[in-house]
Symmetry: C2
Subunit: 336 residues, 2 copies
């Protein structure tokens, strides 16, 4: 069996309280006994049980990270940052993919609570605010990430979606484009991106002529293609010369479809995405995109979470960080 604190104590000829003290480096311990105990620990290859210490200290040192799908590059990249920040405080991450399924999310939340995680980061928008509401009632330290529930008094970190939509659009307009299309998904953040899009058009005294210039779909490459097919199927003087897709996957779908339809990106069509995932670099032409400041966002989120863990009654904050325009090869000026 694994050695316990008792084994160490016996072998070192001290009490378990003493061992605990050198372990946690608190209380006053003479240098001599500290050395003695330490050497015994070494010798026995003692690995203190965090499950036992969690039982007494009420801290597990693990935090739960809920994402829609860890195989999605945006969330995988975010998870990596979270992991790194967690590690700094000696914590680790349990990762849960919800597939944006409320039942699955509920089951995972329940599991994480039974595991007594110190806190929760919810990067998976669930359609159901009730889930988060219950967490708040139970005073479970929680922060929403890259998604917010505005009517709920909860911690959240988001990119400024409205501004992101605005600058993406303003950029396309500045390149001379006047017929724009937007493809968004069905998440709350995307409503804001759409609003930014519309307001940017207004600033140029433009507006959307017809439905087909603004469509919502769930975020897959295939859906990007489908929508593009429809948008680009219009006659040449009606179809958009630039498309703003609310995430990179959709944008790449557009690029692929355009290429296959014989349109050259960016010569015949400019495309801009959102999220600036590693995919933006990989597709061809490389994708201009609106970057979420992931590193800062995760850092702020962890900070908020840690504060919330230290003081569950701390006032809740909603923090929004600025997006950044990343220009690559999928956008260019209009011909004339």
């Amino acid at each position: 069996m694994k050695p316990t604190i008792y084994d160490v104590a016996r072998e070192a000829g001290v009490s378990i309280a003493t061992v605990s003290k050198v372990l946690n480096n608190n209380g006053r311990i003479s240098d001599k006994t500290r050395k003695k105990v330490s050497s015994v620990m070494e010798k026995l290859n003692y690995q203190p049980s965090m499950v036992a210490s969690a039982l007494t200290s009420q801290r597990t040192g693990t935090i739960g990270l809920m994402v829609p799908d860890i195989a999605n590059p945006f969330f995988a990249e975010a998870a990596r940052f979270f992991e790194d920040y967690a590690q700094q405080t000696g914590s680790d991450l349990i990762i849960c993919s919800t597939d944006r399924d409320d039942d699955k999310a509920a089951r995972y939340i329940s599991l994480l609570q039974r595991k007594r995680v110190d806190g929760l980061i919810i990067a998976s928008h669930t359609g159901n605010p009730e889930l988060v509401h219950r967490l708040l009632e139970d005073k479970v330290p929680t922060v929403l990430f890259s998604a917010d529930i505005r009517l709920l008094e909860c911690n959240s970190i988001t990119v400024d979606d409205y501004k992101g939509g605005y600058i993406a659009t303003a950029y396309l307009l500045s390149l001379g484009h006047r017929r724009l299309g937007i493809i968004s998904d069905n998440l709350p953040g995307s409503r804001l991106r759409e609003q930014g899009f519309i307001d940017a058009l207004k600033a140029y005294e433009l507006s959307l002529d017809h439905q087909d210039q603004m469509v919502q779909t769930s975020a897959t490459l295939e859906n990007g293609r489908k929508v593009a097919r429809r948008m680009l199927g219009q006659q040449a003087d009606k179809r958009p010369t630039a498309i703003f897709a609310c995430n990179d996957l959709l944008a790449i779908g557009v690029i692929k479809e355009a290429s296959e339809a014989g349109l050259s990106v960016p010569r015949d069509l400019s495309v801009i995405g959102f999220d600036n995932t590693m995919l933006a670099d990989i597709c061809h032409p490389s994708l201009s995109s609106i970057a979420q400041p992931l590193r800062d966002m995760t850092e702020q989120a962890m900070q908020l979470l840690n504060e919330s863990i230290d003081n569950p009654d701390a006032i809740k904050r909603k923090i929004s960080l600025p997006p950044e325009l990343i220009i690559r090869d999928s956008t260019s000026k209009t011909p004339e």
Copy 2:
């Protein structure tokens, strides 16, 4: 405070043993008390502490997954499968990114042991077999994933790397290519892929003329570009007409570099990758690749791990699964 088993027992007018029994659905309990207890649990919103039960049962229900980097799509995709299989047994995953750094890996292993995870999946090749060796000595249920340490008697799941290298190469040869290049990384599996490459050449009575046709580098897009630059910089009748890259990222680097150098893929150069990550679909032209059967591999790995958890002395097995050739648009016949 959160309600405990005592609260439930008191409220239901029974002993904690009874509560425990209805909780775990064992022992004989009358229907009446079961109902009573259940309703009290419901009413109090009782969430049994898994840390307490872990302390007694010696099972935490969590398994550790060590990967080089969870932001790497190959491992993110694998993690997703692992998560799904873990969920079936009510477990969850702690994910650790090692960056292939032995110290970091060692620290994570230590952390996971202190957390008393039920088992470890190591998908992160560490240069140091000693780490795994120690786990084996401590009888920590462990399985190596997509990497093996051949001299160590340990569980492992791998794709048949040799065969993968062979069929990739045989495929290129069947297309008429005779001047081939290979770019591999510095992992053990890649040695096998190289061997498969060489043996396939032999079967056509070909061999490598010179060093430049076979280079090793670490697996990044940028490195793929660098190597491609060198390979393709040779005069036209010397440079390879097809390149086998030992993973998708390198392959995509090659494609990007070739395009920029004015070569058309696949007309002027065929490229094939390895791993068949989602990136293969996203790049342009889409990438032919050797698929690792991730779903099967993860399933087998979880099965091996579970057996190993149930019986730490179970005999160790090394399982190798067949790769599959996935043809997309980055490969084609030679002109003549």
